[in-house]
Symmetry: C2
Subunit: 392 residues, 2 copies
């Protein structure tokens, strides 16, 4: 019962791009620890990344390998991906969160047995799941290997989506429209924050009658009132009061592909400042999106936003967007191109970005965003929810 959302041919196509990048960087063996990258090359999808596991891609073998915990390897990787059983390796459970045995010791042993112990081995140095200890143990277990920083190698391959991936993101776009509507419908003075979050989570997961939603790489972010300038707060069980300005940053996800969205909502009356900042934000967002087309750089997109801002006497320090798509907690961003000064990544068709110019002040915040695809001559918006301040 394979559960992969793409054809095996598509996975092999991805692998050939990953291997081309490995060759270019002189990497013989790539150890993938980021679960999104593992999913990208073998279709493995499980909440098992809380223990150490890797996918091994080598230049001399068409089929990658999975090395993980016993209970995830044989019932999980073998049954749900295209890997043959002899390409799946499992460590025993006494390696899990143990102070005595480390899973990377086992992985080094497997790599040695396969003859990869003297190779140039690429590792994802800044991936969440590649801990300092994992690297230390690997270096001890493979003293003759040469380690190369292959952080974001797979991420840069996956920055251009296939048409099949774009289809999943369109579905995610339909889900986020429904989830944002569910959240804003539930929101009112006197309602608890947790009840709005529950409405959002329910809508994200039910999806549509035709296709259901997946879990999201980031929980609903819902900063409100005087902490609305802190964009990464979630919710509690307090009740909304009249005059609160808040925003909701969520995504829809379908088979791990995300379409994020942020909207700002004022409950009842709002200040002229909030209304003005919201108008400028939307004008700047649209100006940025209108510059999007193949050949333009990321920093040029940001400059269009910045020009609108400076016209009104505002400035904003942080980036206004990033590549998005296939991901796992804790981030739906792909950690490659960012829409900010200095980022000279050239836009190409089927790159996908979450453009989120958030204006965070000491005592309020306004954020209105759009997730888009770069098309042959412009951009496609995945979601349809109106880009405006919501007053309720």
């Amino acid at each position: 019962m394979m559960r992969m959302p793409f054809t095996k041919a598509e996975y092999l196509e991805r692998l050939s791009k990953v291997k081309a990048s490995m060759s270019e960087k002189g990497i013989d063996v790539l150890l993938i620890t980021d679960p999104a990258n593992m999913n990208y090359v073998i279709g493995y999808d499980a909440w098992s990344f809380y223990v150490h596991q890797i996918v091994v891609v080598t230049l001399d073998d068409e089929m990658p390998r999975f090395i993980g915990r016993y209970m995830d390897a044989f019932c999980g990787a073998v049954k749900t991906t295209y890997l043959e059983k002899d390409h799946v390796h499992a460590y025993s459970d006494d390696h899990v969160q143990s102070t005595i045995k480390h899973p990377m010791d086992y992985m080094a042993k497997v790599l040695t047995e396969l003859g990869y112990d003297k190779k140039r081995i690429g590792v994802e140095m800044d991936a969440y799941w590649f801990t300092a200890m994992a690297y230390e143990r690997l270096k001890v277990g493979l003293p003759n290997a040469q380690f190369v920083n292959a952080h974001n190698l797979v991420n840069w391959v996956k920055i251009i989506k296939s048409d099949a991936e774009i289809e999943l993101m369109r579905k995610a776009g339909k889900i986020v429209d429904l989830a944002m509507k569910a959240g804003i419908d539930a929101l009112d003075v006197g309602v608890r924050q947790c009840d709005v979050a529950a409405a959002i989570l329910h809508a994200q997961t039910v999806g549509t009658p035709e296709f259901g939603g997946d879990y999201i790489a980031i929980e609903p972010l819902m900063p409100a009132g005087e902490t609305a300038g802190a964009p990464h707060l979630t919710w509690d069980d307090s009740r909304y009061t009249t005059g609160t300005t808040m925003y909701i940053e969520i995504a829809g996800a379908y088979k791990r592909y995300h379409c994020p969205m942020c909207r700002t909502i004022s409950l009842g009356e709002t200040s002229k400042q909030v209304e003005d900042v919201a108008k400028i934000t939307v004008e700047g967002l649209n100006a940025a999106l209108e510059t999007v087309k193949p050949g333009v750089t990321c920093e040029e997109v940001e400059a269009a936003w910045r020009n609108v801002l400076s016209k009104y006497g505002y400035a904003k320090e942080s980036r206004i967007g990033y590549s998005t798509g296939l991901n796992y907690p804790p981030d739906w961003g792909e950690h490659t191109a960012s829409l900010r000064p200095g980022d000279k990544t050239v836009l190409q068709p089927n790159m996908t970005f979450h453009c989120i110019p958030g204006m965070y002040f000491d005592d309020f915040g306004v954020s209105i965003s759009q997730c888009i695809r770069v098309t042959e001559n412009g951009h496609e918006e995945f979601a349809k929810y109106p880009k405006e301040l919501v007053i309720k």
Copy 2:
């Protein structure tokens, strides 16, 4: 608007225990990267752990420091914790997921300015958020420091809960009872997996009329049918069929404190083997729980389970439980004591465990669990949902 769920006195009490452990290990400066540990010592709670951030605890300063991204530091850490503004440091946004600047370079600079650059610095070597690159950059930025592995130092302090923490876990227990009921109520032949997940997520988040639920460190795990032996699969949008055996592993959470629970459900008829394994599982679980009291070791608890299993001719490789409580994705386990052979941790009052003896076979799985507190002379069960196979 501080959002901390405990008194400042409780945080200071925790800090004094952390510092005692630092002293014992010869650590002058502790860099905390695990968001649960950050929350534990300063009460910081935000979904900002997808970028590098640390809490610094030193022996020579009563107040810890937060070093993080600008947008999380001043509106987030300053407004929501007890830290004074001069103990909060922020790096600029161009450090975020950049190939040029690394946040740890900034952190090394701050530590140097504070005079900590020649100290013995403890780092959480195997924490998810302490990447290989973070460690490399720290070593470059602090060439005269001595680094000490302080992995799980805070985790071992927090293994014994305060009465105030236990109160939060009791609330989480009430929430998980409701969430499990919501999931099992929604479950039926012909229902989509995503619709059951949505019912669970909604109930987890709404909580009760008196207190709302928080998000959970692990998404609902719902392996079903022939992949039910792979315990970390989530859901898709396929429909359940008659005769499916599955389990639901979820938690309730209140202010980041978790009470996990797993139940096995058969839709319609089930095999004698599933029924037998379920009975043995419950008998073994109860035998393990009945041994729990102060003075007993973790491996003795597991042995009670193992004795029941062997009586029926079964064996199970993996651990049957672990310490749980305050946590963030991707794991509600605390990575300290495990209920398994060789773990000689001695139980003490207010330790809390998720006892989950999962029986995973090639083509089915049975798992029935209980989250408990060690009391003065036995154990307290946080949740009330009947410990039995559910046939629906």
